[in-house]
Amino acid sequence: MTKSSEKTPAPVLSVRGLSVSFRGARGVWSEVVRGLDLEIGAGETVALVGESGSGKSVTSMAITRLLDPETSRLGGSILLDGQDILALSEEDMVSRIRGQKVAMIFQEPMTSLHPIYTIGDQITEALTVHSPMSKAQARKQAIELMQRVRIPNAEARISDFPHAFSGGMRQRVMIAMALASRPKLLIADEPTTALDVTVQGEILDLLKDLQEEFGMAMLFITHDMGVVAEVADRTVVMLRGDMVESGTTAQIFDAPVQPYTKGLLASVPKLGTMRGEPVPLRFPVVNMANGSVTPGTKLDRTPDTAAPLLKIRDLVTRFDMRGGLLQRRVAQVHAVEDVSFDIYPGETLSLVGESGCGKSTTGKSLIQLSGGRSSGSVDLSGTELFDTSGEKLRRLRRRIQMIPQDPLASLSPRMTISEALTEPFLEHRMGSRAEALQKAERLMRQVGLQPDMLARFPHEFSGGQRQRLCVARALMLDPEIIIADESVSALDVSVKAQVVNLLMDIQQNLGIAFLFISHDIAVVERISHRIAVMYLGEIVEIGPRSAIMERPAHPYTRRLIEAVAVPDPSRRHSRRSQEPQELKTPLHPMSYVPPKRRYIEIAPGHLVRDDVTTAA
């Protein structure tokens, strides 16, 4: 062996010159990972970071040999605990490696658990599959494992089914199953990406604790630099199958050598960089080719605070749960409860909160697309939207546009971009076909795309380009306000910054107001004039950005801001004593009457829900 194996102790995982190729259409092989070197010792965490398509997940699949041997080829060497993985037969992998020496946890806790078996069944299966034991023994060990991963009330919950668990709790179950056979190596593939920030923090802490306890090696795959800074001892940066840079996490963050790493780090939104900035600031522009950074410029346009553009009062949206033989309403989801706020022309108001808090439903309710029952009042400069329907509503929708979370899903797959862009313009009879085409071409340039791309279909664009297309489509109608519903959440960091900057350019040039709905607080901090924090369908705190970010008054706001993983290894969090929070639900029986809330104005424009006198 090479000199590395003479070192003591030998690494748990040693990957040398790994290459992975896939067979594509017409039998052409393409290399998606090239010459990757990786070494993880016992008790060590190595993060594999990169944007989508960098080959990081493929690498983890190669290590566990889960790639289809028919369509993939592996090269180089992978040594796991001294064993050459690439030389083993599939039977050996099943009986001796997977689940024994190496275990994996995945991104989607919602789909990785089998829906028709109880949690207990699934953990005991993981326990008994490699080491035979009695039923009672297995059950006892399963409860122990559940306690280890801090699932409250383990003994009672062992016979529950997965649907009774929240996302964070399911991820804990997945971790418990992975730990069942005390693996030498744990591969965590984006384990917290699908989770809310507060839950993400808890899971990361849990993984760190368990790693210390078990002395495992951990390969942590993520795109989130904040998470990397939080957990990794060493970091490997990947770009389109190539290893760009590797070193200790502190080295990578403090003194990156390669331009790509520099660019990646510079484009990561960092919470707290806006401290003391009075107006929204664009993201720094990063030149990915040489890593140079041009600082972000200020938004040169102040909102017109004379009269609100959109006045929302007592907005309530509920979804019915039906049941029984006659499909009667048996319960209601109180998705949005008594929400009131104003948006001024040229202003960006952000709605932040965790998944299920009703922020997206609020946005959709404004244009009556939520699918639930809404009441209250939405006043668009003098016109009551909730009083309109049919043709009148259709015409009013021109003035409020939406940029969706998933641009691919929101573009009709069988329409060219030119059709998609001109359609709304023509439908609102805003001009002739030639004028529509002219405007589409102009807007394509404005959002940073070429007009000759109009002939293409949506699937031929990248994620960031598709989001630009959706921005262009919204602008076709000259809206006064744009609802951006998680519009940049699914994008890679470098692209995310570009699209946010684009939105700010548009606001500066056209004076459009934004309702920016997001769970990503670091982005919200950049773009917003004001922020509203939502929790379980209600606004708990609303106020100017600086007030919310620097002087949060509601305990939930504080918890939300604190939970954000900061991309700085020297500022690691330590909340290890925190007990996991069980999910609260906005599902209530029909008889439920929500408490009437009062808000206290603690500073001009800064309102906080009064939980002392109105506690339910």
Binding site: V244, L369, R397, S410, E427, A455, F457, S462, V495
Partner: protein, 344 residues
Amino acid sequence: MTSVSTDKLPPSPIGEGVSAPDGPWKRLLAGLLSSPTAVLSGIGLILILIAVLLAPLYANHVAHTDPFRSGLSAKIEVEGKTVPVMQRSTEGLGLGVTPIGPTWSGEYMLGADTQGRDVMARMLYGGRSSLLIAAASTVLTLALAAIIGVAAGYTGGLVDGVLSNLIDMMWAFPVYLLAISLSIVMIGKTFVLGPIELSSSSLIIPITIIGLVYVPYVARPVRGRVMTIKNSEFVLAARGLGVRRHRILMRHILPNVLSTLIVFAPMLTALNIVTESALSFLSVGVQAPNASWGTILQDGQSLLYSRPTVALAPGIAIMVTVLLLNLFGDVLRDVLDPKSARGR
């Protein structure tokens, strides 16, 4: 550590592997052409189609016979000898006649049936009816199913309730029972619809029957697909953009339902060939003097022991055609379904 050269860096997904803009139809064609199964089964089907279209040519110039007229007294020349088509039986009491067996030459290539007619020529003419009925009833089924499914799925509410229950009621009937009942009502009468007069032997009758019975099997999935698309992000986006209802239906929903319908086409055609044969075999499908593979199969029933080719020929023709259609349909489904491995 490897250093990354800058020429690899600028992230420009467009222009990388993406050349000319490809429409969905072009992609469908490319997908089909890249599959040997689809190409071979497609060629096979085209050959069958050409063969049955050339039926009159074969009957007049090769077989020199009229396949619809009885040839009980006809005589042909085999290996220099003139022999009658209906041969006196040499077995048992020597009573009755047996039609001539396969000659493997131009005239009576596959022998004659009980009426002394050329089976090969009848096979080609019968194939015409079989394929025409199968294809036409597929079109009818798809059209009706699309209208019902889209109306039910898009409108929802009361319309959906009524249509869905109608579909369910139709579904509750066994297909053959329904088809036979319909046949008994329709066959043997002359329909007069304004200027059009339908004789009992018209092929339109089996086409209508077969076209009707499979409507629920297609309308149901179409309705489901419409309901999914109706709630999809891009329809929601279109509504948010203020696009009118009928345009959402025509431009956003229908094109996406089309793929569901296309997937059904070859499989439904195969099913229809089998159904037509079964109904004709039971004498409730194609009526004399028309022939179809099903009626030839029935003709061959009484000759099964003496002249098995008469029944075997249509049997094999049905099997091969159905197999080819299903093979083609499988590839088509894979290509159209973005979730399947081949489609990627």
